[in-house]
Each structure stands twice: as structure tokens, then as C-alpha cells.
């Protein structure tokens, strides 16, 4: 068999072992110093180049076998994705470059940011065929991604404050904290050492072998060994003053939490062992590792991150015994983390494109566990909601292809259809789906769901038992392989891929699932069916028609194959498997039942039960209801057309919760008294699954509103609520809370919200509903309850918010004051303020009440009851508030910005998205803006400014090399705002020249330069530290006013250094600065490390410095700052490179500084020239340049850490670097 090229054989070497030793982890400086040593087995004698992954690291030295020093290059294309070509601002243009950039460093492509050359004198090491040890010394200064330091800003020692750090990853991103082969396909064994403060604990992958104090007894070194091969993305670290809780049931399992949370940890982790037992039993395989650790940390983006032998979880998953709602989430999250130990960590994937397998399988296993814990109804409801979500996403954005690495096999010619050559229909995404780091995070989220559903589909095809045997086989193979040495070549058994998996299914079951895989894994999209039927009385048949009308819309494709139809008749449930071939499939199905002969007979259901039904609503057809693909065995959307009474029967009598939910959804459009009755009965039915009851309540709201003219009696659900929860002696007053019956608890939370949605004939909430709600507030008494009522109180406030309708009369010109509010509004506001205030004094669990209070305040603002005002939300959105509160406030701010936001508000949001210390907030905020964009695409809007384009473009282009997730979030935002084409607000350059009025930018007098030059040298020193500040200022860039100042700054380089913090507008200046700053950067730490050479020089190149100048710019020869600067940069860098040799060999930085001085002088001269020319330039040109400069702006941190110096294009530039 021809060996296919996969990620695990793309490299000319194999990785056998890796040592990671981090010796200097400093919380004060947020820095890490360490070294790694990779033991590699060369596969070719000619191995001369080793590609490794490393980002934002500053690399001091690379050593081979500790004896030969190897030259190396560093290049990160993400530092300037568009490579200076900034004319195009469209996503279709960006996508290609984005993908190219990602592939240029993709380890699966035998590429990487760090290129180590084996010097000729060390070449014999390779030829000997022995293992080669590559040692790399590196440091990280204030890493912006991949590692997060949480240092609370409060008094006390670090440990008392709960300062901690951990690594977090977005798919494969271990390269952000140590140099490695950052591939899922390169497992190796590990030795990990971390030296941390005495009060801290370092938790990492593998077995903790020993903890040794340093000679000064102030620090401890934690030694970990991981003997089972694991790939680099599955390595993690968490350091903090953790409280340690050994699981009382399984002593190999250790839980860690932050100080003071131990009681909650004990509660939350109480049933963790059950998940282990369940998986071991289900997979009939032992847990592969010898230990498991779960660490709960703060400020983490995602709830769970699974790594080999450990998981890092969000501390906000912890809860006490008094909490109900969180338990479900936490339990599932922990179970998911454990499932990923089996598939994801222990079994990794052969290519990144196989990511659907570990994701799908682990989620599937979690689903099985959830089914055991929470029941089948919950499980089916979950599956249904996942399916819906996938369908919704695909219809909006395109069909998700789980494994895009290989096109589906062409259909065999023997097939009935005249097989056209299969072309992969372009899924039509605006982002490349061929690399993990370029995909939208939302896409990956939905991909996981789809993968889960596909695995579940497989379960239906081959049976659960056999599917589990397939898993078992994979695990056994991997376990066996893991015991072997690397020489055995068996480690590839620890990798799973679509092909391996398909083959394994075939081996175990004898079934060839290749077609299935092609259909559902290698092809995107889902089927969409519309079912209608007519009962033919004469022939006693049901004439079914299943149509697939739309097959060419986004995400939808034609389905061919069997399809199950369930028909519930009077005599029972009958299943019919129909073969679907065309877009319209018709079938005549003979009914088994004679219509309505035997009225009294009980009707058998699909479960075998027999029930009485009131058949009076039926006409003479014996069909009670029809379902299509009832077990969700396809990726499909289904629309069934049947009369309302059939939906009502389905709701009342079908036992499957998904059918009930479908019926409820359909009944929204049939507002009749019979529907009302069916819904009411469902809400009251104690045997009904609670989520169905909740959904029915919300549906009843809609039905009642549609029937408002004919509605008789008290508001809907009032009677039900009073019956269930009113006190015995006085129905009006609610009982004291008792949440021991969880179904009632959820009903009690939901019915008020549903009722609040009721509207009377005037379109406002009926007054009796409002007073009912007020009474609930008034009489709420939780003193005798075992459970906290925080979610209930939150629900009540949410209900208050739901009663609010737009204000009827607006007195124009008069400001809204507290006195001018209506009585109802006053009452609502009174409750809201009281609860919000009370939360300051007696906060409830996770501030659920505050969260909804903010939401309601925003609703009141939106509907004109309160003046729209972002200031309150800004306070709540600030760092230091609890995350949920912040998100709620940000949601309000995003909404505000959309409705009546000014540029300043949008800037506030962007600043936060760029600079917030909490990585999760940055991500969530951008997601919020994607969901609720500040303006609609292609609608004229005051916020639709070129500055915004520039700003986002600049971010995605070069500012977020360290954070692929945020970058892709912003790509989503860009798409939402502008689509894939050029943004409309960007003037076409040629036209702009003509139309725009000139505006001469006043320039600062050039003497400044002379004055400031000396300072630059002095001042440059301290600047290095506050990278963050620097970044934080970048945002200003986009505003027009700043822009001018930006331009005016350009010439004064001396000043620039000093003012770096204020104006960081220019990439050019950045370049210059970072040249200078670099030299200072390592000052403290580097001394302690051996082999650190004077300057940052040897480490690499500046981003964009070798960029080709845009031809037009050159030819025009205009005096734009840009091209000249670039030239200058180039020169400067050439200088640098000339000196590189010297630096390497231990020259100190003086020389470098001198060079810089020279450079600077030159620059100065040039600047002066430029300045004079600048004056003549039009404003629009300035603008244009601004854009360009914006484009060129490069991520500061990375630059100043001096490790990252991308050349624009590795291939073209390569020639310029001649290493000794």
C-alpha cells in the first residue's frame, strides 16, 4: 500500500523524548526562564534542518548534544500576515494569506517558526544514526498568550493573594510557552521540571517523582516523568498556592483548587470517581495513565482543558451543596475532561484534520455518562439541541466538513445515479478550514457537536456494543504501543485517523463504513426534509411525500438512502423504512387500522404501553401522528406538515421527549383552545419530562398572546402556578421555598418568566401579571430551604424584565427623571435596584442576581424607560468584577453600542477586546460583538468608518500572533461587518484622491529631533517592561485625531522612544524601538543563564523589515513615509545581520547600541527629508498611509521580546541570512 503522507511521517525525524525545565517562574515579572531538550531520532542521514515550533519565546541558544552550538532562525508569519500588501482589505484576500501563514509554521507540514540548522561540524552526529539531543534555552517575558499569570491586585504575599499561573491552549499551542514540535502526531515521553516558590505547587503532566528544595530552601523543584508517550499540545502546567484534595475513592486522583475553596471542591468533585468507573467499564479498558489531576484555576477561557494525566478547569465550575443548576454543568464538564484523557490525550490524532475523532468520541462517551447520570430524556434532548445547533450553523455559514484532508471517494459507477465526477462543493466559508489556527472558534465548537452526532450515527449503524469494541481495540493497541520504546515504531498506534478508524470498524465489525465516512465526514452539510401527507380514505392509505426542495443552499445537501418514518395509528406504531432517491419521494403506505371502529380500545404506543385517548378531535383518518427519522440517525432538518390536532396528540401521548418538543414548537403556530389545553395539561403533568414542561410554558405564552382577543379567565399559567406553589391556606401567597423536587424547582423558575411574556390587547403586560410577580418578590422566603434561591431570584428579575414593553409616549425634549417614570416602571426599578444593591452586601452564588439586574436595566434603557447610558455598564465591565457580571455588562454595552453607540463606545469595546487581562473576556467580548454587531453590513451607519476597518484589520493581520482564537474571532467580526469583499467604507484610492479635500497636517518643528536624540538612548531602557501599556495605546490609532498626531510623530524618533507609551501608531517606529528595546529586555534574567549573548540580535529578524515595498509606492516615488521607512528598516536590519555573527560569539551589546545609534542618525536625516515632503501631502494620502502603517503595525510584545522577527517570506529572504 502506498504510504500516505500524514502528519506523523512528514518530518525527517522522530521525537523520542523531551525534557522541559522551567527554572525561573516569576510572578512579579510574569516571566519564565527555562530550557528544553528534545531527543530526536533522525530518519535521514541528510538531516540538516530541524523545524520546531516556538512563539513569543526569546531563544538564547540552541545546542546539539550539549557540545555543538547550532545557528537558528526565527520566523513567525502571523506577525504580518498580509506581508505588507495592504491594498486589499477583503477577507477573501486575507483568507489565502492566513492559511499560507498557518501552513508555513504548521508542524504537520514539517514547518515551524524556529529553524535549527545543524552546522557542518556537527553533521556527523546525524550520520551516526544515533539520537540527537537538541537543547534550547529560552525565556518568556510577559507572555500574551498560552500562559496566563493571575496575580490579584490585593495586599498579602503571592500565596495569600492566590496568585497562580497556568498554561492554556487553543488546539495545539504549546509552542507559546516552550519550543517543541507542536503537533498532535508526534508523541514522546517527557521529563518535566519546574522550580517554584516554596508556597506554591506545580502541577503538570505525568507522575510527580519527587519534590526537592533548592539549596536556599526558598524554592522547590517539582520533577515529573511521563513515561507514556504524549504529544506536545497535551502538556500543561499550573502553578499556584493550591489546596490539595486527594480523592477519597481513588487515591490516584488529586484535585487542586485555589485557597479557601476546598469545601466547594470537595462537594464538586464528590462524584468524579463515578465517571472513571463508568468509562473503564464501558470501554472495558483501564484508565491508561497512572494518575489524574484536576486543577481549578481562575480567568481561564474555556471551562475545561484536558492534557495528559491532568485537566485544567475553570474555578467557576465549583459549587457548594446548596446550588442546583451548576451541578449539571460541572458534572458534565468533569466527565468530559476525563473522557478526553482516553481519546484526545492518550490517543492523539494522526493529522489535525482527524480532530473530529477524539472530539467526537470523547463527547460521545460523555454523552453516555450523562445519559447514565441524568437519564435518557436529558440525553435525547441534548442530542436534539446539538443537532439543531449544527443545522442552524450550517445553514448560516456552510456545511461543516469534519475531515477536509481528503475528498470523498467518487461514487461507484454502478450506482443508480449517473455519477457525475464528484467535486467537493466549496463549503463557502470565509475562513480557511484547512488549518486549526485559521478556523473560526465557533466553527470548531460546532464541529465538535457534529462530530459527536456522527459518532452517534455510527452507533446506530453498527450498534453500540460493536462501536465500543472499536474504541476498546484502539485503546488496547495504544496501551500496548505505549509500553514499547520508540524504536519499535509502534507509537503510531497511539494516533487515530479517519482511515485508521474506518479500518478498525471494518476489522471489528466486518462492515465497511467507507461510504458512511465519505458521506458524513468528508462531505459537509445536512439534509433537509419536508414531509406532507394525505390520507386516502378509499384505499385506506397514507400518501406520503418527502421533499428535499432546497439542496443548493448553504449547508444543505441532498440525501440519498434509507429514511425511517414512524406512523402512529390507532392500532399502534408502525415503522416504515423508505428509500429516498430523488428530491421528491412519494410513498403510499397502507394503514393497519380501520378508522375509528373500536372506539373504546386502548391505543398501543411505540413503547408498548397502551393508553386511553380522547379521539374526538380526529377526523376519520386512523393516523394520530407521523414522525420522520425519530432517532436522529441523520444530520437533518425536518419539517413535518400535519394538522394541529395531530401535533396535540403527539405532545400528549408520544413518549419520546424529542417528539414532544417538536410538537410544542409546531403548536406555536396553532393558537387554538385545544392547543391551550394540551399545553396546560403538559405543564401540569407530573410524569412529563421537566424540560418539556418548561418549553410548553413558553409556548403557551405565545399561544396566549396570539389568542388574546378570545382569551377567557385569568392570565395563562396563573392557576397552575398557584396550584403548584401557592400555600395551602392562601393560594395568593407562595409557599416557603423548598427545592427538593427539582422538577418543581425548574418550573417555579420558568413559569414566572413565561407569564411575564404575556401581553394583553394593548400589547402590554397585564397588570395582574405584574402584581403577581411583585407578590412573588414580596413573599419569597428561603429561610427553610436547603438550596440557595439565587437562580430563582434571578429568574424573577428576569421575569420583571420580560414584562417591560416599549414606552408609549415619549415626551420629546424632556429628560427622563426618577419622577417621570410610570408607576409600573418605578416598581420594577425599585426591585431591581434593591436586589442589585443587596448583592453588594450579601453576594449570591456567581452573582446571578446582579447579572440579570444589569440585563433588565439595559432592557429598560432600550425601551425608553431609562436614559440610555453606558457608564454604569462600563463600571461593571471593568477588570476585578466577577466574570459573569462583566459579561452581562459587556452584553449590555455591545447592545448599547449597536443602538445608540458613539465611536467612543465602540473604541471602548475594542480596547477591552484587545487589552483586557482576562483572556476569556477578550474572546467572549468579540463573540458578543459578532452576535450583535454594531451595525449591519452594507447599511450606512455612523460607526462604519475606515478607522474601524483599519483597526480590526491591523489586529487580525499582525497583532494577535499569540492568540489564534482571538484572531479568528476578529475575523468573524470582520466578516459580520464587511463580508468577504472590500469594506464599502474604504474609499477606492484613486477616487479618494480626487474627492477628498486636502488637509495639511501640521508638523512639529524638526528641532525637536535634535533635542530629543540624546534622551532616546537614556530613556530607552525602562520602556521595555510595560509592553502591555504600549499595546494598550495602539487602539487610539484608529481615531482620526490621533492619526494626525501619529503622523506628526513619525519624524521624531528620539521622541518616539520616550513617548512610546502614548503613541504607538507606527510600525516603523516600533521596529526602531524594538531594535533598541530588545537590547534591554533580557537584562535581569539573562545574566543567570549561560550562553546568553549580548543582544537580541541572534534571535531573529524584525517583522516586515524585509518586506518588499509595494511596487506602486516605489514607482510613484512619492514621499510617503512608508516606503522610505521600510527601506531604512531594511538597511538597519542588514546592519544587524552583519553583526549577528559577532553577537553570537559573545560580543556585548555596546556594539549593537552603536549600530543603533548610527541607524538612528540615518533615520533622523531621512525623517527630516520626509517631513518636509510630508507637508505637501494630501490628507487622503495620509489616510492611506495610515492604513498601511496600521497594517504594518506589529504586535509589540513579541517584537520587544526580541525573539520574534519574522521575515516576510521565508523563501525569499532566506538568502539574506548567512549563518556561519
Amino acid at each position: 500500500m502506498k504510504k500516505e503522507r500524514t502528519a506523523d511521517n512528514s518530518r525527517p525525524f522522530k521525537l523520542a523524548h523531551q525534557v522541559v525545565s522551567l527554572t525561573g517562574i516569576s510572578f512579579q515579572r510574569k516571566s519564565i526562564i527555562g530550557m528544553v531538550e528534545l531527543t530526536i531520532v533522525p530518519l535521514r542521514d541528510t538531516l540538516r534542518l530541524i523545524h520546531l515550533n516556538a512563539k513569543q519565546c526569546r531563544i538564547y541558544k540552541v545546542c546539539l548534544n550539549e557540545s555543538y552550538e547550532a545557528p537558528f532562525q526565527y520566523f513567525d508569519p502571523f506577525l504580518d500576515i498580509s506581508q505588507g500588501d495592504d491594498r486589499q482589505r477583503s477577507l477573501e484576500f486575507f483568507s489565502n494569506l492566513h492559511l499560507a501563514a498557518a501552513q508555513k509554521v504548521d508542524p504537520d507540514n514539517n514547518a515551524g517558526e524556529l529553524l535549527v540548522q545543524i552546522p557542518p561540524d556537527a553533521a556527523h552526529l546525524v550520520e551516526e544514526g544515533k539520537n540527537l539531543r537538541v537543547g534550547i534555552e529560552f525565556s518568556l517575558e510577559q507572555p500574551q498568550g498560552g500562559v496566563h499569570f493571575v496575580v490579584p491586585n490585593c495586599p498579602g504575599t503571592l500565596a495569600e493573594r492566590g496568585a497562580h499561573m497556568y498554561t492554556y491552549s487553543y488546539e495545539n499551542s504549546s509552542r507559546l510557552w516552550f519550543p517543541c514540535v507542536d503537533s498532535f502526531a508526534e508523541p514522546c515521553t517527557w521529563k518535566l521540571e519546574f522550580t517554584v516558590d516554596d508556597a506554591m505547587t506545580a502541577v503538570s503532566c505525568g507522575d510527580l517523582v519527587e519534590v526537592v528544595y533548592t539549596p536556599d530552601m526558598r524554592k522547590k523543584t517539582f520533577h515529573y516523568v511521563l513515561n507514556l508517550p504524549a504529544c506536545a499540545p497535551n502538556i500543561a502546567l499550573a502553578v499556584g498556592p493550591f489546596e490539595i484534595f486527594v480523592d477519597p475513592y481513588m487515591h490516584e486522583v488529586t484535585h487542586f483548587c485555589l485557597p479557601q475553596l476546598l469545601p466547594s471542591l470537595k462537594v464538586s468533585a464528590k462524584y468524579m470517581h463515578e465517571a472513571f468507573e463508568f468509562y473503564e467499564e464501558t470501554l472495558s479498558n483501564r484508565y491508561p495513565y497512572s494518575c489524574y489531576k484536576q486543577v481549578f484555576v481562575d480567568e481561564i477561557d474555556e471551562d475545561i482543558n484536558a492534557y495528559a494525566t491532568m485537566s485544567i478547569l475553570n474555578t467557576n465550575l465549583l459549587h457548594s451543596t446548596a446550588i442546583i443548576d451548576q451541578v449539571y454543568i460541572t458534572k458534565k464538564a468533569m466527565a468530559q475532561a476525563v473522557a478526553e484523557q482516553f481519546f484526545g490525550c492518550f490517543i492523539s490524532m494522526q493529522n489535525w484534520s482527524d480532530t473530529w475523532l477524539p472530539k467526537g468520541i470523547s463527547t460521545y462517551l460523555t454523552g453516555l455518562y450523562a445519559k447514565k447520570c441524568f437519564g435518557n430524556n436529558e440525553y435525547r434532548e441534548w442530542i436534539q439541541s446539538e443537532l439543531r445547533e449544527v443545522v442552524k450553523y450550517e445553514e448560516r455559514f456552510g456545511g461543516i466538513i469534519l475531515d477536509p484532508s481528503q475528498p470523498p471517494a467518487p461514487l461507484p459507477v454502478t450506482a443508480n445515479t449517473p455519477a457525475p465526477t464528484p467535486r467537493i462543493p466549496d463549503p463557502g466559508f470565509y475562513f480557511p478550514i484547512r488549518n486549526l489556527h485559521t478556523m473560526s472558534p465557533r466553527y470548531i465548537e460546532v464541529l465538535r457537536k457534529k462530530a459527536h452526532l456522527v459518532i452517534r450515527m455510527l452507533e446506530h449503524r453498527i450498534g453500540q456494543e460493536l462501536l465500543l469494541q472499536v474504541f476498546n481495540k484502539q485503546l488496547s493497541l495504544a496501551t500496548n504501543a505505549a509500553q514499547q520504546k520508540i524504536d519499535s515504531g509502534l507509537w503510531s498506534h497511539m494516533l487515530i485517523s479517519t482511515n485508521v478508524f474506518t479500518k478498525a470498524i471494518f476489522t471489528v465489525t466486518g462492515k465497511d463504513m467507507a461510504v458512511f465516512i465519505d458521506q458524513w465526514v468528508r462531505t459537509g452539510g445536512h439534509a433537509k426534509f419536508t414531509l406532507s401527507f394525505v390520507f386516502n380514505r378509499k384505499r385506506n392509505t397514507v400518501e406520503l411525500e418527502i421533499r428535499q426542495d432546497i439542496t443548493h443552499q448553504k449547508g444543505i445537501r441532498k440525501y440519498v438512502g434509507p429514511l425511517l418514518v414512524n406512523i402512529q395509528e390507532l392500532d399502534g406504531t408502525f415503522k416504515h423504512t423508505l428509500q429516498i432517491e430523488g428530491t421528491v419521494a412519494k410513498a403510499d403506505i397502507t394503514c393497519h387500522s380501520k378508522s375509528r371502529r373500536n372506539k373504546k380500545k386502548k391505543i398501543p404506543l411505540c413503547t408498548g404501553e397502551e393508553v386511553d385517548m380522547d379521539l374526538s378531535a380526529m377526523d376519520d383518518s386512523p393516523v394520530l401522528w407521523i414522525r420522520l427519522d425519530p432517532d436522529m440517525t441523520l444530520m437533518r432538518a425536518v419539517q413535518i406538515e400535519q394538522p394541529d390536532y395531530q401535533w396535540q396528540y403527539q405532545l400528549r401521548h408520544e413518549r419520546d421527549v424529542t417528539a414532544q418538543l417538536e410538537a410544542i414548537e409546531a403548536l406555536q403556530n396553532h393558537s387554538t383552545p385545544a392547543t391551550r389545553l394540551a399545553l396546560t395539561d403538559t405543564i401540569e403533568n407530573e410524569h412529563c419530562y421537566y424540560k418539556v414542561r418548561l418549553r410548553a410554558a413558553h409556548c403557551l405564552t405565545k399561544v396566549a398572546n396570539a389568542m388574546v382577543a378570545t382569551w377567557a379567565g385569568p392570565p395563562a399559567m396563573l392557576a397552575i402556578f398557584r396550584k403548584l406553589f401557592g400555600s395551602a391556606s392562601c393560594r395568593r401567597i407562595i409557599k416557603q421555598n423548598n427545592f427538593t423536587n427539582f422538577q418543581h424547582y425548574f418550573l417555579q423558575k420558568t413559569i414566572p418568566v413565561a407569564m411575564a411574556g404575556l401581553r394583553n390587547a394593548h400589547g402590554i403586560c397585564p397588570p395582574e401579571v405584574l402584581s403577581f410577580l411583585m407578590d412573588l418578590f414580596k413573599y419569597n422566603d428561603n429561610s427553610k430551604n436547603r438550596y440557595s434561591d439565587n437562580y430563582y431570584r434571578a429568574a424573577l428579575i428576569e421575569a420583571l424584565g420580560a414584562t417591560v414593553t416599549p414606552v408609549i409616549s415619549i415626551q420629546l425634549g424632556t429628560a427622563i427623571t426618577a419622577e417621570s417614570l410610570s408607576i409600573d416602571t418605578k416598581a420594577i426599578l425599585e426591585e431591581v435596584t434593591r436586589h442589585l444593591n443587596l448583592e453588594k452586601l450579601l453576594p449570591c452564588y456567581k452573582y446571578t442576581v446582579s447579572v440579570v439586574c444589569l440585563k433588565v436595566i439595559r432592557t429598560l434603557q432600550k425601551f425608553g424607560h431609562l436614559p440610555s447610558n453606558p457608564l454604569l455598564f462600563r463600571e461593571y465591565a471593568s477588570y476585578g468584577q466577577f466574570i459573569d457580571v462583566r459579561i452581562a455588562a459587556l452584553t449590555a454595552l455591545v447592545d448599547f453600542t449597536k443602538v445608540d453607540g458613539k465611536w467612543e463606545d465602540l473604541e471602548f469595546l475594542l480596547d477591552m477586546a484587545e487589552n483586557d487581562p482576562h483572556p476569556g473576556v477578550r474572546h467572549r467580548l468579540v463573540r458578543l460583538m459578532v452576535e450583535n454587531p454594531p451595525f449591519e453590513r452594507a447599511h450606512k451607519h455612523r460607526l462604519d468608518k475606515p478607522e474601524l476597518v483599519n483597526r480590526i484589520w491591523n489586529l487580525i493581520n499582525c497583532m494577535l500572533s499569540h492568540d489564534p482564537k482571538l484572531r479568528c474571532d476578529l475575523v468573524d467580526l470582520y466578516y459580520t461587518l464587511y463580508g468577504t469583499k472590500m469594506p464599502l467604507c474604504i474609499p477606492i484610492p484613486e477616487l479618494a484622491m480626487l474627492t477628498k479635500p486636502k488637509k495639511v497636517v501640521p508638523l512639529p518643528c524638526s528641532n525637536n529631533d535634535e533635542l530629543l536624540i540624546p534622551m532616546s538612548h537614556i530613556k530607552s531602557e525602562p520602556i521595555n517592561e510595560p509592553d502591555i501599556n504600549n499595546v494598550s495605546v495602539n487602539k487610539r490609532k484608529a481615531s482620526p485625531i490621533k492619526e494626525e498626531s501619529g503622523i506628526s510623530n513619525v519624524p521624531e524618533h528620539g521622541a518616539e522612544v520616550k513617548r512610546q507609551k502614548q503613541h504607538h501608531d507606527d510600525q516603523r517606529t516600533n521596529c526602531n524601538i524594538d531594535g533598541k528595546t530588545k537590547s534591554e529586555y533580557y537584562s535581569d534574567n539573562s545574566a543567570s543563564l549561560p550562553g546568553i549573548l549580548g543582544t537580541g540580535g541572534p534571535v531573529g529578524f524584525e517583522p516586515g523589515m524585509f518586506k518588499k515595498e509595494p511596487d506602486d509606492a516605489k514607482t510613484k516615488g512619492d514621499a510617503t513615509n512608508k516606503p522610505k521607512k521600510k527601506k531604512k528598516d531594511k538597511k538597519k536590519h542588514k546592519h544587524k545581520h552583519k553583526h549577528k555573527h559577532d553577537h553570537k560569539h559573545g560580543k556585548d551589546k555596546d556594539k549593537k547600541d552603536k549600530d543603533k545609534g548610527k541607524d538612528k542618525d540615518k533615520e533622523k536625516d531621512k525623517d527630516k527629508d520626509k517631513e518636509t515632503k510630508d507637508k505637501e501631502k494630501d490628507k487622503d494620502r495620509n489616510n492611506k498611509e495610515k492604513d498601511q502603517s496600521g497594517l504594518l503595525k506589529v504586535k509589540e510584545e513579541t517584537l520587544s521580546s526580541a525573539s520574534s522577527s519574522p521575515s516576510p517570506d521565508a523563501s525569499t529572504v532566506m538568502s539574506e541570512f548567512n549563518f556561519p
Binding site: 507522575d207 467557576n316 446548596a322 392562601c730 419622577e819 453588594k840 436614559p867
Partner: protein, 292 residues
């Protein structure tokens, strides 16, 4: 009481003196003179009474007879020839009858409930029974309202009032946010939010309610294990229910012991001291001791 009665007595005596003086033709007199006369009259009467009782007791009686009084008068040297006449003189003034209400009124002030009469077996000369509340349980407060609705109403109002007062107070004493564009913040003051570090602590350790269920939770892992073990010997256990508790306790402690022994988790082990450090350390300690 004594002071009161004596003052009443004195009042009557002074009344008597006054009337005699008026009979004698005086129209006014100095207060001091009147007091002196009253004092004299009082001591005379006391003296006579005293000596009359002495005579009475001398003759072996407990109740004084007229003869005793006469003897006393005679012994005091007072002539009684025309006393009778003097008593029946024409222009004598009659003192108003004594007002007893004043006394009883004063008693009534503190009376609670109706005083009970002496039961038949208690001689009437014994002091009257005190107020019934002194020896009988009497309702001193109103019967509490047991009506459910009213109670809930009251509790709700009370809770709300407390909350409102508390929040208003805090709002008035600290930084506030305003929902309105104007600064008038009196109607709906919002307490300003202060960033807290670490921000998760207050959210995960809620203070809005205190639940005491934590205790049973802590015990639960042990309990569960307990359950497992007694299952084997459940039959025995059921029989000797009395011993069970003790047994359990023993088991518990045993278990916790064994647990502590069994758990061999690397994170619980103490850190090792580096080899090169060991001797050095001890030396340092020694020197430290010595220097002290």
C-alpha cells in the same frame, strides 16, 4: 406605707388641734406652733395607749378594755371628771370622716388581675393574697396572630424594610451610580461596584444565606464507606443496635487512620532537602543554637 399612715394620722391630729384652737377662738396660728401642739398630742395619745396596753397585759388579757384606758389616764394624772361633758360640749366641731379611699387607691396602682379572697382555711387576719400574677401564670402579652397569611405578610414586610433600610444606608454612605442623567439619585440609588481581587472568591463563597448542611457533607465520604463495610455484617449490626454507635465510632476512627495510612499521594509528601544542603543545614542550625 409607714410614712404614709403616720402622715395621715398626723394630719387628723392636726385637724383635731386646729378645730380645738378654733373653738378656743384662735383665728390663725403659726405653723411651728401647730406642729408642736400636734406633736404633743401625738405623744400624749401614744403614751396613754402604751400604758393602757401595759395594764391590759398586766391583767392577762390581749384586748384593751375601757378600764385599762381609764387606769392609764389616771396614772398619767389626767382628770376625767368633766371629760364627758367636754366631749358633749355644744360648740364642738365635728371632724370629717376619714377618707379610706386614698389608701386603697394607692394599692390599686400596681394591681394586676382581681385579688382573690382568702380561701376558707386561711384565717382572715392573715394578710390578703397578693395580686394573682404573682402566683398564677397570667397572660402578660397579646395572643400572637396565628393566621398564616398575616404572618407571611408581616415577615415579608419586615424583611423588605430591613433590606431597603440597609441598602439605602449603604448607598447614602458610599459611592453610587446613577441611572439617570441628572445627579439626583435619591429615588433609585445604586451602590457603586468596587473591583475585588480575587474576584471569584465572593462569587463562589456566597454570603446571601448560611446553610448548615456542610457538616453532613464532610462526613459523607466516610459514611459511604461505612455503609459498605457494615453491609457485610449488617445482620449482626442490626441485632445489637445499641453497640452499633460505638462500633461505628470505632470504625470511623479506624478508617480515618487507615485512610491516612493508605493515601500515598505524591503531593502529600514533604519536599526533599537537597543532599548537599543537609549537613550544611544542620551545621547552620547548630551554630544558630550556639550563638543564642
Amino acid at each position: 406605707m409607714d410614712v404614709q399612715t403616720s402622715s395621715t394620722r398626723r394630719k387628723i391630729l392636726s385637724h383635731a388641734i386646729c378645730s380645738i384652737l378654733t373653738e378656743c377662738g384662735f383665728e390663725s396660728c403659726e405653723k411651728g406652733a401647730l406642729e408642736t401642739l400636734t406633736e404633743m398630742l401625738q405623744s400624749l395619745l401614744c403614751e396613754i395607749g402604751e400604758s393602757a396596753r401595759n395594764y391590759c397585759e398586766l391583767s392577762g388579757r390581749t384586748e384593751i378594755l375601757v378600764a385599762d384606758v381609764l387606769l392609764a389616764l389616771v396614772n398619767a394624772g389626767i382628770r376625767m371628771d368633766n371629760m364627758h361633758l367636754y366631749g358633749l360640749r355644744a360648740n364642738r366641731t365635728l371632724l370629717p370622716p376619714l377618707q379610706q379611699q386614698t389608701l386603697t387607691k394607692q394599692l390599686n396602682i400596681l394591681q394586676a388581675g382581681v385579688k382573690q379572697n382568702h380561701p376558707s382555711h386561711i384565717p382572715s387576719h392573715l394578710p390578703p393574697l397578693p395580686d394573682p400574677h404573682a402566683y398564677i401564670r397570667t397572660p402578660t402579652h397579646k395572643q400572637p396572630v396565628t393566621e398564616y397569611e398575616a404572618i407571611r405578610e408581616k415577615a415579608a414586610t419586615q424583611k423588605r424594610d430591613i433590606e431597603r433600610a440597609l441598602t439605602r444606608f449603604t448607598a447614602k454612605t458610599g459611592k453610587t451610580h446613577s441611572l439617570f442623567l441628572k445627579d439626583d439619585n435619591s429615588m433609585f440609588p445604586l451602590i457603586g461596584c468596587v473591583p475585588q481581587f480575587p474576584s471569584y472568591l465572593s462569587a463562589l463563597l456566597p454570603q446571601d444565606q448560611i446553610f448548615d448542611s456542610d457538616s453532613d457533607l464532610e462526613a459523607s465520604p466516610v459514611k459511604k464507606k461505612k455503609e459498605k463495610e457494615p453491609e457485610n455484617k449488617s445482620k449482626d449490626g442490626n441485632k445489637e443496635a445499641g453497640n452499633n454507635n460505638q462500633k461505628d465510632n470505632v470504625e470511623q476512627s479506624e478508617e480515618s487512620n487507615t485512610q491516612a495510612d493508605v493515601i500515598d499521594n505524591p503531593y502529600l509528601r514533604p519536599g526533599k532537602i537537597p543532599k548537599n544542603k543537609l549537613p550544611h543545614m544542620s551545621r547552620a542550625n547548630e551554630s544558630g543554637v550556639l550563638s543564642f
